[in-house]
Amino acid sequence: MRPHDSTTIDRLRAQIAALEKRPALAEDAVFSGKADDLLPVPAGMLHEVFTDEHRNSGAALGFALGAARPLLKPERPAILVMQLSADGREMGVPYGPGLKSFGIDPGAVILTRAETVTEFLWAIEEAVATTAVAAVIADIASHQHDIDFTVSRRLVLRAAATGTSVFLTRYGTGREASAAKYRWKVLPTPSGSPPFDARAPGPPRFAVTLEKGRIAGFSADWSLLMDWTADGFALVEHSREDSQPAHRAAPLSGADSAALGDRLPLAG
């Protein structure tokens, strides 16, 4: 490839990106094997964070907050968490001291509650249209069908225009048409144990699959295990946790019950 060819290609790419209203950078996200490179992805994108069940809501919010944290900048000092009031009563509301122990400044997280889905969508769009918001995390536990393709397309355009990222946390196994650039599937996973206490839960661990969207070097059907640490997401090395995914794949296999049986001697 001659040198001026690559500049032409870059220029054409930028033109296409401008037509599609998204930062050209998105194609350049390269996964090098470290979780830090997978996240954060460029700002100004619409992400869907899917999890299978409502009771995984803690993991979904944790993943979205973790992905949004690097987006906080002095000129974008806030993360807006939006909920429908009814969902908040059912699934809990973000809790200040919990955010602090998760590693996020509770002062930067603003909670917005709406009564109806119309007002909810209006508030999301209004927040996305502001250049001072780092990320909008919208918890969509009910009214799944009101978030259709048109809605997501509007959000994509607004987010691209202002550079505000949007994370829609959604629940269930069905997937509808959506204009979201990235779709993640996040499941909670049994955590590793902290040193010296095998029976205590360790740092939060997520099983993350990228279902939609392209990150160079990252295959869509990989399921990664990530720990949330003080420095952000960290990949769990497969060598150490090799047996873990196998257990999940065959929950009724003999290996699993053997592992259960092993607990007693461990507990001593």
Partner: protein, 505 residues
């Protein structure tokens, strides 16, 4: 001071054309202790000798063609409130005095307003004249103190007293001092029939004989004791208004006018280097009602576009309730909660800080979803988890409690349920985590757990039935982590109950 002695009957005859065209006297009656007694009588009925508190059947015997209706006090009070608000087109401070009158008397503070009407006499003439033209019986007076104006409006209508009211009040009867009937008859028995007769008397003796109220009212009337008006509408510090030759009705027109007014108000505020946090839009309807809309801003502002947008958001929520009636003939945009706001220079090298944009976003969202919908966490001095943080509106920001606890190093969940939910636990070991739980009819088995973290009752806050809590972090087979607690220690409570309080990431 405007006094409307026949307001109830006048108002009903205006509302009902059949009554307006009547030839017969009209009264309103109400049930009192089983008897039907007259409550309000109109001018015609009064001239025939009917009076309030008279038995309805007596009145009918005296005047057979009497037109009588039962009084609806709630309705009349509401109409009077609108009626009073409407008078704020004459003066911004309107209050209703409830002394010795069924619906109240209108009291307008006209300080610095009279010149707009061409002097005090012209103003009084205009205010009473326009009410008379509408069919109301009205008396008015202007004086330097509320008490004096009240007495003059009752007993010397139309008078305007400047300076000390002593002379003007002297010949008026003592009933002009807003006293109750017992006090008035007592004074009259003693030969003290006019206010002037009280002037030289020993105040202590008067107070001992007739009650402190008499001395207080006398001082108020003479302007020696300050009496405060309680304005019906929020106090207005700066305003811009527009009157229309033809009444307008469409909400879009109203919003357009509000935008224009916001520009004018903003210029006014800019000239004085002020910003405001509360804005009120008053819509004066031709049928004497006032609709008001208020919006609040998180920080003092004078950005006309922003103010206009806040009203547009608020109106969107009100679409069903908006009712312009026969039209709106005046719109006033007012600002209150003023604070100095110096103009800022945009620097070439300043780091752009998003806080201003954020506050405007919060204003917009709060103006549409309500102020309680945009919340931040405020840390409070308490270690009970649900009390440690208070969700408070962003636009009414308060500083954090300086005594708020340092962040605990113990884990706290990322989501907290609004109220702890009772769970059934299985295989509990005293002072250890349970092996599983049933929450919302689903059973979970815990593989890992840590704890307990013991949180004792705050004995200094009175709360019934609170027990020490032992909190555990429990992780189930799929890796979901829960914050559960046992309410009560073994031994402290007979059967300690377990609750789920939150979720970890």
């Amino acid at each position: 001071m405007l006094i409307l002695p026949r307001w109830a009957t006048d108002c009903l005859s205006r509302a009902d054309p059949a009554l307006a065209a009547r030839k017969h006297p009209f009264v309103l009656w109400e049930k009192q202790k089983g008897a039907m007694r007259l409550a309000e009588v109109d001018l015609h009925a009064a001239s025939l000798g009917l009076f309030a508190q008279q038995n309805l059947s007596d009145a009918r015997a005296l005047v057979p063609e009497l037109e009588a209706r039962e009084i609806d006090r709630a309705y009349l009070e509401q109409v009077f409130a609108d009626f009073a608000d409407w008078h704020s087109n004459a003066s911004p401070i309107v209050s209703v005095l409830m002394h010795r009158s069924a619906y109240g008397d209108l009291c307008l503070d006209i300080t610095g307003v009279a010149h707009l009407f061409g002097g005090e006499a012209a103003m009084l003439e205009k205010l009473t004249g326009r009410l008379r033209a509408l069919g109301y019986t009205v008396n008015g007076a202007i004086a330097g103190s509320i008490g004096a104006a009240w007495a003059l409006a009752r007993y010397a209508p139309g008078s305007i007293v400047e300076g000390e009211p002593d002379e003007a009040l002297a010949p008026l009867p003592v009933a002009g001092l807003r006293l109750d009937a017992d006090q008035v008859s007592g004074l009259e028995q003693m030969g003290l029939k006019t206010i002037g007769a009280l002037y030289g008397r020993d105040r202590r003796a008067l107070g001992a004989r007739f009650g402190k109220l008499l001395v207080m009212r006398l001082d108020e009337a003479l302007g020696q004791l300050e009496e405060r008006l309680v304005p019906r509408l929020p106090e207005i510090e700066r305003h811009a208004e527009r009157r229309f030759a033809e009444p307008i009705g469409l909400i879009d027109d109203v919003l357009m006018t509000a935008n224009d007014l916001a520009v004018r108000l903003a210029q006014q505020l800019e000239g004085e280097a002020l910003g405001a946090q509360a804005f009120h839009l008053f819509l004066y309807r031709v049928d004497h009602k006032v609709m008001s809309l208020s919006v609040n801003a998180a920080r003092a502002t004078r950005d006309a576009g922003h103010i206009g947008r806040l009203f547009a958001n608020r109106v969107e929520r009100l679409v069903g309730e908006y009712d312009p009636g026969f039209g709106i003939d005046m719109i006033r945009l007012a600002a209150s909660s003023l604070s100095p706001l110096a103009s800022t220079q945009v620097g070439a090298f300043d780091a752009h800080d998003g806080n201003g944009d954020l506050d405007r976003l919060y204003d917009r969202v709060a103006s549409r979803l309500g102020p309680l919908s945009v919340l931040r966490s405020r840390f409070v001095n308490s270690h009970i988890p649900e009390r440690a943080v208070k969700l408070e509106p962003v636009i009414a920001r308060m500083p954090d409690d300086p005594h708020a606890h340092a962040p605990v190093s113990a884990p706290r969940p990322i989501r907290l349920l609004p109220a702890p939910e009772p769970i059934e636990v299985s295989a509990e070991v005293p002072d250890g985590p349970p092996a599983g739980m049933t929450w919302r009819r689903v059973t979970y088995r815990f593989d890992k757990a840590s704890g307990p973290e013991r949180i004792a009752v705050e004995w200094w806050t009175p709360a019934e039935g609170e027990l020490t809590r032992d909190y555990y972090v429990a992780e189930d087979r799929d890796g979901r982590r829960y914050w559960i607690f046992r309410s009560g220690l073994y031994g402290e409570a007979a059967h300690p109950r377990w609750y789920l309080h939150g979720f970890f990431a």
